[in-house]
């Protein structure tokens, strides 16, 4: 009734909108016509997937705290080793295992976090370790992500024999004793950041590939994919343009959960002596050295352990929050 269009523009200013009997007369209405100027005005800012996600993240306190911590860590890792009066390898064994805020009697500089078993400054080693640990974590996560998405995407999209073969290969790769691969690489190639990243990412992508495959299988028979197919899109286009964007949220979440796992692996392999090249430091090595002396010099464990925990917590919590943010089912 209210949508009914009126042909004539009638203005009845004196009459009430309705009479006492309750009947509404057409005269009660005013035709406002089409406002051609404002028809296309966007009343609220348009929201893309990313913008929506971003604004949701901004409103999420936990996510903001996590991101802030991570940014501080990254900045510190870049800056601190440059401005510290100590280097990561400089030893003074006469002042080994000193407590935090120990003042070096020779140079007068302060060891903010004390010194380690070889008399090296823990503070600068910790931040340098952040550099190594975070670089490894990000690089491995990126490689895992790229390889995993491509592998999983292809496997899931083509299905059938391709899928079967690719999944069996994947099972083999994840079944080969990881240690053998790492030791092989560490002894054949020179130790270094590149070797570590390579060694860690050789099997790490399998989890991501499995996840992506599962999602692609679930999505590939949906209408928008069929539509793209019927319009003659190539598989590579369908995967990259239609399928991947739809599972992007899951991929991002998985990356944030992957990073702690990589830092973990780094710590575990450091424990077996398969980590970074000495005298460089990483959180894993520092924590492992710390655990051997934590009953006598607890701070040598506490600092790297807190650094690892803080980073892991930040990534994990961020991952959780992102899951909530991205999941359409959970929007309120």
């Amino acid at each position: 009734m209210f949508n009914k269009k009126k042909e004539n523009k009638v203005v009845m200013e004196t009459l009430p909108a309705y009479d006492v009997s309750g009947t509404i007369t057409p005269e009660a209405f005013e035709h406002v016509g089409v406002d051609y100027d404002n028809m296309e005005v966007i009343a609220r800012p348009s929201t893309s997937f990313w913008k929506d996600a971003f604004s949701r993240i901004r409103r999420n306190k936990v996510a903001v705290v996590c991101i802030t911590i991570l940014v501080i860590l990254i900045l510190g890792a870049i800056i601190v080793p440059f401005i510290s009066p100590f280097t990561i390898s400089e030893q003074n064994t006469a002042y080994a295992n000193q407590a935090p805020f120990f003042v070096d009697p020779e140079s007068g500089n302060v060891h903010i976090f004390g010194t380690d078993a070889l008399g090296r400054d823990v503070f600068v080693r910790l931040w340098y370790g952040a550099r190594i640990s975070l670089t490894v974590a990000f690089a491995v996560a990126a490689i895992d992500c790229i390889v995993g998405v491509i592998y999983g995407g292809i496997s899931g999209y083509f299905g059938g024999a391709v899928d079967n073969v690719m999944m069996r290969i994947l099972e083999v790769i994840s079944g080969i004793p990881y240690l053998i691969i790492v030791i092989l690489l560490m002894t054949v190639i020179d130790r270094g950041l590149g070797t570590i990243i390579l060694a860690y990412s050789l099997t790490g992508w399998t989890g991501m590939a499995r996840l992506v495959r599962g999602q692609v299988v679930a999505l590939k028979n949906q209408e928008f994919v069929i539509a793209a197919k019927s319009m003659g899109a190539k598989p590579s286009r369908i995967i990259s343009r239609h399928l991947v964007p739809n599972i992007l949220s899951i991929i991002i979440i998985n990356i944030t959960l992957d990073i702690p796992a990589i830092i973990f692996t780094e710590a575990f392999l450091s424990m077996l002596g398969l980590g970074i090249k000495p005298p460089e430091s990483s959180w894993g090595i520092m924590a492992y050295d710390g655990i051997t002396v934590f009953q006598t010099y607890p701070t040598q464990l506490i600092f790297p352990a807190v650094a690892i925990c803080l980073t892991m917590l930040s990534f994990n919590l961020l991952g959780d929050q992102l899951r909530d943010v991205f999941d359409p089912k959970l929007r309120r």
Partner: protein, 540 residues
């Protein structure tokens, strides 16, 4: 989040403060006829002919009895052997065995058991890693090992059931000491054949022994339970009825287990030693005769120069290493033979004198000189130190790295790797400097010095000096012990002067014992020995 963290931290702090001293430290495990010791790992197999690992050696010392055993001062005394005669040329030993000793299967222990064991060791099918200890020592050994002579032709004979005659190749002065070593132990032929070579020594019920203790239970990777052997020939000297060896690998775990009175004896590291001494607990040490050094690849450009090698040797502050880093009582090395090794009752290292002198300035000069001779410069000189991958090995490697970089201005890299990989690299001479160490096989400088003879399997650095070889060969044949000692002193002095290695420290075993266990023997040659009067003292 911060608040939760704060509460957590506060909780941990209170826990640690509140409960300090709640345990009676050093009380020891419960039970007044039993002791628990940390064996530090699972023994490979309890087959005396094949054992080459330290835990295996410790278990054999408990349950097997050989010709001789070492007393508390590492002097060989008779065990199965009542007495022995040595021929004029010191090459023939005739052992008179004690009668009445029994194997756990009831068979008597006879001279034939020794003959059988030594012959079996030289059978290649046995796969005995230490076969060379017999065949380089006993007449016709090498020929028997290589199948050129029959086993019966080996220079060991049972003249009767209780008389054993051993013919040596050289007049080895330390043979009686060596006779206590695991590969020279007897084996009961009947038991070995009944159980079968493949299964022998793999489980508690697949071993037949003749020693002070019997293996009652062996839970792999967990513990071995010993009970006193009533039939042992000197059973009346054994005062503790039950001994349990547990296998722990993590250093913190051992320390915690000792503090919680779950184990009576553990080895501790430098930090733990410090902590224990702070709490007023007496920590014991023994000279384990481990000699540690950096071995040079003498064929690498730069390192082929003796001045460069000497410079590196004298540019490492080994005192700081021992006192500030290791902190376990290790002492700076003065040469290759550690101070605990005695010849004719005197410390051999003292006769040799101190050959290593830390002097960074002089070393730097010497290095530049040496490098110039090879057409190299310190700034461009890069060397890699090969180390093992354990935490303490890497710590030490980084110490050497920093010392050499700081004192000599050269570039040093550290390459840590798993033990087997490291050995492979050493064997293929694919290294510059390798961190190595030597634990002695017998109480004589020869065990260290022979490593550096031309062509010796352990001479990874390719050092070769005919004069040095000659000195050692002469010493081997020398029957006069004073003259022999003089030759060995000359050899060691020549060796360190040539510097195919840079001695760093002589290690020390540090351990802590609960108050209830007294008289346990621990030396470099006997990690644990209960036969020298170890007893349980119960406190009131």
């Amino acid at each position: 989040m911060k608040r939760i963290l704060a509460v957590l931290l506060a909780g941990i702090m209170t826990l640690s403060v509140a409960s300090c001293g709640s345990k009676q430290l050093g009380k020891g495990t419960p039970g007044d006829d039993s002791a628990v010791l940390d064996l530090r790992g699972e023994p490979a197999e309890i087959n005396s002919m094949k054992t080459a690992d330290a835990p295996g050696g410790n278990v054999l010392r408990m349950c097997m009895s050989g010709l001789t055993k070492l007393d508390a001062n590492d002097t060989p005394v008779g065990d199965m052997a009542e007495s022995w005669d040595v021929s004029e040329d010191k090459k023939t030993y005739t052992f008179h065995l004690k009668e009445g000793a029994k194997w756990t299967n009831g068979e008597p222990v006879t001279a034939h058991d020794f003959v059988y064991a030594w012959q079996t060791v030289l059978n290649k099918d046995t796969g005995a890693p230490y076969a060379y200890m017999i065949y380089t020592m006993i007449e016709n050994g090498e020929a028997v090992y290589n199948g050129e002579k029959k086993p019966e032709e080996l220079g060991v004979k049972a003249i009767d059931d209780y008389t054993l005659e051993v013919k040596l190749i050289n007049p080895v002065p330390y043979f009686l000491h060596l006779a206590s070593f695991s590969v020279f132990l007897p084996v009961n032929q009947k038991a070995y054949e009944e159980i079968g070579a493949e299964n022998y020594g793999k489980d508690a019920d697949k071993i037949v022994t003749n020693g002070a203790y019997n293996i009652k239970e062996w839970k792999h990777d967990d513990h071995i339970q010993f009970v006193k052997n009533k039939d042992y020939i000197d059973a009346d000297q054994i005062k503790i009825d039950n001994v349990k060896y547990v296998m722990m690998t993590d250093q913190n775990t051992k320390y915690n287990a000792w503090k919680a009175n779950e184990v009576d004896v553990i080895n501790v590291n430098g930090e733990q030693r410090e902590a224990l001494e702070k709490e007023g607990i007496e920590v014991k040490t023994y000279v384990d005769n481990g000699s540690w050094y950096l071995q040079f690849n003498t064929e690498k450009p730069g390192l082929n120069n003796v001045k460069v090698r000497t410079a590196i040797m004298n540019a490492i502050d080994t005192k700081a290493l021992c006192e500030n880093v290791r902190k376990d009582g290790s002492v700076p090395a003065t040469g290759i033979t550690p101070s605990g090794i005695k010849v004719n009752g005197e410390s051999f290292a003292e006769s040799v004198g101190n050959l290593v002198n830390y002097d960074p300035e002089a070393s730097k000069k010497l290095l530049d000189e040496g490098l110039a001779e090879e057409g190299l410069k310190a700034e461009d000189f890069t060397i890699t130190i090969l180390s093992e991958d354990g935490a303490s090995a890497q710590k030490e490697a980084q110490f050497y790295q920093e010392q050499l970089q700081k004192n000599l201005g050269i570039k040093v890299e550290v390459a840590p790797m798993p033990f087997k990989s490291k050995i492979a690299k050493m064997q293929s001479k694919d290294f510059d400097i390798v961190m190595a160490g030597w634990a002695p096989d017998y109480n004589d400088p020869m065990t260290y010095l022979e490593m550096f003879m031309t062509g010796n399997g352990n001479n990874y650095g390719g050092y070769s000096n005919p004069e040095y070889d000659k000195l050692l060969q002469d010493a081997t044949k020398e029957t006069d012990t004073e003259k022999r000692k003089e030759l060995l002193v000359q050899a060691e002095q020549m060796l360190i002067k040539d510097a195919p290695l840079a001695p760093t420290y002589f290690s020390t075993g540090v351990y802590v014992v609960s108050n209830k266990l007294k008289g346990l023997t621990r030396t470099g040659f006997q990690e644990f020995d209960f036969t020298d009067g170890a007893e349980i003292v119960t406190e009131k």
